[in-house]
Subunit: 217 residues, 2 copies
Amino acid sequence: MKDTVLILSGGLDSVTMLYDYRDCIALAVTFDYGSRHSKNEIPFARYHCDQLGIEHLVISMDFIQRYFHSSLLVGGEDIPEGNYDDENMRSTVVPFRNGIMLSVAAGLAEDRGLKAVMMANHGGDHAIYPDCRPDFVAAMDRTMEAGTYQRVRLLTPYTRLTKADIVRRGHALGVDYAQTWSCYCGGERQCGRCGTCTERKQAFADAGIPDPTVYQS
Amino acid sequence: MKDTVLILSGGLDSVTMLYDYRDCIALAVTFDYGSRHSKNEIPFARYHCDQLGIEHLVISMDFIQRYFHSSLLVGGEDIPEGNYDDENMRSTVVPFRNGIMLSVAAGLAEDRGLKAVMMANHGGDHAIYPDCRPDFVAAMDRTMEAGTYQRVRLLTPYTRLTKADIVRRGHALGVDYAQTWSCYCGGERQCGRCGTCTERKQAFADAGIPDPTVYQS
């Protein structure tokens, strides 16, 4: 039954979830909050929704770029290189970003009579991003349920998977990962050096699946 | 210590809270989400922040008017008349509005190193709006705490007060209630007939304090 809103970035995790849960997803929502790589991600989000015939909204949240500070945003400091779980990746945190995106998605679900919101956070996100951790997810689920007539629920089926598990799953589903974007730098090609590129490469290596990405380096 | 973000509409409740907690409030935020009465409320929000020398942001959330349905919004169906707790006031609900506003405010608090977000929900809101009820408030508090490095908390000191209690409190603080707006209809003057005007009038009557509002009827 199609009763779920998916938060879809155009990255590897949420695109896999789109294919994995295509039979449940009534609407996919992409948030444009002024990140460097939104121009790279959003066309891929749209592409996969078109492929699957799933309705897709792009919601602009200008206020984040205007009032929030993060190296992830256009005009912020440089994106750090190195491993994804390094302390220096903390500069890429956009304060309470998942809380904001999930709240808007919960409102959309309530507005349309849908039952759930789905997000593709996974085990590797937990170290850096407080709004990806299991205790945040559990509390947000209760908040959405309490704050809506329909008792909208939050579903995060990848929350205990690794990124390599996700790649294995998507590969089996036939997801074309050349049509996904991870790099935080927002260049012509994915840089291959920033934390999220490093994590992407490692996921394919750990999964034992060829990485179709053309990196800059 | 000024370590709190207040969600300020320009209505009676949040303006009273602004004066009541002026020593804690570092920043007041007004959300323009396309309601009929935002043009009436926002100048009052700005006025009181100017009076008290408190920083004030107006954050536009165009996507709500574009994608959400409610009689409260420009282009929605007519605002119902009658008592605030009538079933027909349900059409004025903007899905998960408080969840969305609180999430953005939590992000701003985290961004600025502030400790708390304050909201002026009160006992009379609970019947209609699921995202004003104590179980929503408690869950949202846990969500904000879990989803931020600074463990931002949600404070709702009026949650068990009546609107008459709030009027008494504001009157003692010298709040000029002529410079506040409640009416959902967004006309030149407050209509005096819609649910929120009825509730406003009743609050002054119950508090035994003269109502300075010039109503249309």
